[in-house]
Structure formats: C-alpha cells, structure tokens
Subunit: 340 residues, 2 copies
C-alpha cells in the first residue's frame, strides 16, 4: 500500500494501479493517456520482447522512448527485463496491480483468450479489460465466464470504441424503444501512417474479402504496403465480424443479425474519412418508428475513443471487484466511470 492509499480520504480514493499489456500504437497511447491522471498510475508494461514494472509508478516518457529506440521496454534501466514469455513473467513479477488493459492485437484470434488463461492459472486476482473486436473472440471469453468468476477476476470485454463506447451508446439508445429493429455502426478512422498501428491495420485487413486473421498476420510489412498502395491507403470494410452484435444480443436488446458494423480507414491522413456514429432504429411503445444517433466528434482519434473508454470500464470494474463481483461483463451492461 503506497502513501497515497494510506492517506486517502473519500475525496481522494485510492489510486488504481494499472498495467498495460502490449506496447504498440494502442499501448503507448494508453500510457500517454494515463500520464496526467490522479486516479490511476501505470505500474506495469509488457511487450513482445520484455516487460517492466515499478510499484511506485513508471516513467511513461522513458517507457515510450526505450520502446521506440530499442524495440522493447525490457531494455529500460533499472527495472526492465527481456523475456520471450513477457506476459506470464510480468504477471508473476508485478506487485499490487489492480487491473490490466489488454492493448494486444488478437492475432491469432484466440490470443487474448490465451492471455486470460495465463491470468487464471497465475492465481492473480483483479480486473482485466480488453478492446477485442471479433464476435468469435468474445465467444471464447464467454466460455471462460465461470473460470474467471472462480479465479476472482472481473473481466470486461469489448471495451474500446467499437465494440465498446458505441455498443454502450446503442444499449442506452435502446431504452426509448419497445423493440429494436436495427443497430448500424459506421466508423471513420484516419491515421497519419500505417506503421504507427501495424497490428491494428493487420486486424482490419483480416476483415477484407479474401483475407482472414491467419493471412493478415502472416503478411510482411512490404505486403501490407503493397496492398495499401493499390487502394491509395484506404481500407473499406463492410459487414465486419464485430462483437457489438453478440454484446447487444446478450443483454437482450436485439438479435445479432440486426447489428451491422462497417467503416473506412485512411492510413495516410489523420483526418477521419467519415464521421463515426451508431444509429439505433426501433419502435416505441406507441408504435412510432424512429432512430437515435450517437456521433463522435471528428477531431477525436481512434486512440482517444478506444483507450478512454477502456480505462473508464477498468475503473467501473474495480468497483465491482471491490464488492466481490467477478466474472465476465461487456461494455453494454456496465456504465464506465470517468477517470480523473
């Protein structure tokens, strides 16, 4: 217990001690987002080649600089450690971590479920949050619900932008209706260059006709670039397998077939190619058909819309965990809490 926790009053709740798994574009954005927070501190990071933890908090600039110059936080002096088994080692080594954000690409498609299994096997108890995308990946986690519960883990799945923020907005919008006919999610993402989000872009390519997660994962950087050259850097995605559908079905709002997700990713321009929004169409108890719309501001980045909600759900899940409520929850059933 650190000094802040000992002196904590109701006005200053104990700091939540957070780890981030994965330190590519998303993991680094998560760390930068955490830097100014008073209610959360970053104490643990793992990437593919190493890990670092420090119970008093990590220097986020140093973590990012080391990763960018040397390829792993494992090179960070004096606490970094290189390891080919970095996640398992970090879980065992890091002390007093309340929750982890899994900023990991889910390649292969069972990777995040396998990480959850490592947490269960380790005996660690706390909060896990992912920003997973595919329906089939959420189904793997659903099958682990009882195990997570028995392990004392409160796991929040699908807690990024979509699924996540937009799914929650759909769940909220549904409240005005007796019956939901359709949920339509459309996103626009603009990034200055694809190399900043190599894994995320591969996950997007995997949704395109003729591709899957195995093919996309095996593509070299040159092959990704060749593909993007053909489309002038634009990826157009339709009828994506996105877990918004199963999450809304699980809470009884709509059958998964009535949920569609599609969008456009511009990998060469940080300006969004279109506004991101979710439209919820239904029938009110009076028999009127109408549509509620939730639209994200165009200036907000994918990183802000994924990492902000992820930590908001982590904070909410910590409150559940404190009350002894464990198991698997989604963004559609819990209200995220604002992290100051």
């Amino acid at each position: 217990m650190n000094a802040e926790q000992v002196t904590g009053s109701q006005n200053f709740p104990p700091t939540i001690r957070v780890g981030v798994l994965g330190f590519g574009g998303l993991g680094q954005a998560a760390a930068r987002l955490l830097a100014p927070k008073r209610e959360m501190i970053l104490v643990a990071v793992a990437d593919q080649k190493g890990y670092v933890s420090r119970s008093e908090g990590l220097n986020i600039k140093d973590c990012i600089a080391t990763y960018q110059s040397q390829g792993s936080v494992g090179y960070l002096e004096p606490h970094g450690t290189l390891s080919s088994n970095s996640i398992q080692k970090l879980i065992a080594a890091a002390e007093g971590v309340d929750g982890y954000f899994l900023a990991l690409p889910n390649l292969p498609n069972n990777f995040i479920a396998s990480v959850a299994q490592q947490f269960i096997a380790s005996g660690w108890r706390g909060v896990l949050v992912d920003a997973i995308k595919r329906t089939s990946a959420v189904e793997q986690l659903l099958a682990m619900k009882d195990e997570l519960c028995a392990a004392g883990i409160t796991y929040m799945t699908g807690c990024g932008a979509t699924p996540g923020l937009l799914t929650a907005a759909a769940a909220l919008a549904a409240q005005s209706y007796a019956e939901i006919h359709q949920v339509e999610i459309t996103f626009g993402v603009g990034i200055a260059n694809w190399e900043a989000y190599r894994a995320t872009i591969r996950e997007d390519i995997a949704h395109m006709p003729g591709y899957n997660t195995e093919i996309a994962r095996a593509m070299t950087d040159a092959e990704v670039e060749a593909l993007l050259d053909q489309t002038n850097g634009i990826l157009t995605l339709e009828n994506m397998e996105h877990a918004d559908d199963i999450m809304l079905e699980l809470v009884g709002i709509v059958e998964r077939d009535s949920v569609t997700v599609g969008g456009v990713v511009d990998t060469r321009n940080p300006k969004k190619p279109k506004s991101t929004n979710v439209k919820v169409t239904g029938r009110t108890f009076e028999g009127k058909i109408s549509t509620h719309t939730f639209t994200l501001g165009d200036e907000t980045s994918m990183a802000a819309n994924v990492c902000g909600p992820a930590f908001g759900y982590l904070k909410a899940a910590k409150q559940l965990h404190n009350r002894g409520i464990y198991g698997l929850f989604t963004a559609a059933e819990i209200m995220p809490q604002f992290v100051k």
Copy 2:
C-alpha cells in the same frame, strides 16, 4: 411467489413486480409501456385520490379507463380503494412489489423526497426510481442516502429523459476526453394538448422567468391556458435548473456550472419543435477539442424517452438490490438494462 417465478429458469428470469405512483399523463404512459412486457408486470397503482393493487397483475386498460372516466383508480372494482392518503396506504397494502416508478410531479419541490421518507418509514425494501428534474430535489435525496441504505432501498434518481437518458449519454460521451468543457442539453417536446400532461406543463412553467414551483402549482387550468394563449402554446425554456448538472458533477465529469439545459415545448402539436440532443465538448489526451453528439429520433415522444429509461434503470437497480447494494444512485453511474 407466482407460477412464473416458481417455474423460472435462467432463460426466463423472475418477473419484476412493479408499482407506479402517479397516474396522470406520465403514469398512464408508464402503464401502457409495461403492458406487453414479459419481464415486468404492473401490480400496484396510486393516484391522488385512491389506489389499487393486485399481486397477479392489474388490467392496465381497466386502470386507465377508470381513471379517465372517474378520476381515480380507487374506483376500480373489485380491488380499488379511495383514500386521501393513497401512497402510504398502497405501500402498506400491496404485497410483493419489487420496485416503484415515481411518476409524480414534484410539486411542491420536496414532494418526491417526502414520498421516499414514507417508504423508509414503512419498512418496505426494494427499488425506487424517479424522473425528477430539479437539482435541488436531487440534493434533498442525496441527503437521505444513508437512510435509504439502512432501509434496504436501492433508489435511482434522475432516470427519465433529461435528467436520465441524456445525462447517461453525456457520461458515456465523456469517456473519449481527458477533460470536459461543456455539456449542452437541448430538448424539443411536442404534445397534442397540454391537458394530457397538466402537472408536467406546470413544472415547465415553473422554470420561466417570474415563475417558481409555488406559483406554477397554484395556477388554475384557466390561468395556464391564458399563459399558453399568449405564446401560441409554446414554452421556451433556458438555463433551467436541471439535475443533469449535479449528476455529472457527482461522477466527476464536469462542474455543474458547465452543464446547460434548455428547450422548447409545443403544447399544441405532437411534432417536436426541435430535435432533442446532448452535446459533450472536451479535450482529448492528445489536446484536440471536439464534440460528441447524441440525438433522439424526432418520432420518439417524451413518454417513450422518460418511461423507457425509467424501467430500464428499475431493472438494473433490481440487480443491485438482489446483490444487497442499497443507497442512492443516478442515471449517470448505472447502465440501464433493456426490459423485454
């Protein structure tokens, strides 16, 4: 316990047994909204002059017809009872009610708090939901938090449209931002004639310059009509005292001064005079200023946007109550659950 509960499986959770206090425009809409639900049944109703309860469920058409023809559900045969103290009598008489929706006008401004006190004094345990509007009214309930907790009551306040659905949307939208600068709620309400919502319209008038809740409450119907004649049936409301502000402040999103609520009510046309929306402006962790917008479909009525969320929050609060979580909560901190 009814047959449905005895035979209930995980696929068919026990029916939630609901009471509605107040049976004017809002209370009747709440009853009509409940009629086709499988997960909730209406078992108790009170109005100013009487009450009725039936543990197997009330016939909603009969309740509304009796109220409209005779002025009180107390006339309903064979279970209705006339009483000048209908709420207190109903609380004592109705058996097995899981939760009540307080579809009551808050006139005077401490009326709903006084009803909460009646529940506490009665020894009843369960869920209470209101669609209260004023900041000062929520403050009265906040002061009762410990009492509600000790009484075994899970009370959800501010769970209509605004505050309620739009406040929750603002809380969700805030997740993309490091800092919130402004929350701006604008509503349009259209009703065919003001007599269908006499109490609600008086509450709106109370927000106009030169009026307050006491003045508005004391107005005769003729005086209300004379006022509406002056404005061609339109009420324009600005900088309203609305609890969205304190609710967002309580969850740490923004100080109350940065939340504004205003709108236009057309009392002579069911078409909305403007679209209802909430705009949340903030700064992302990357320093970008942007605005998320949540807009309600124009075809959705005030009744749908108030009563739908109210029962969604009642369902969510029932889950908290089942876990032994009591006290006072707002629409900004709990995700409502869809009621089938």
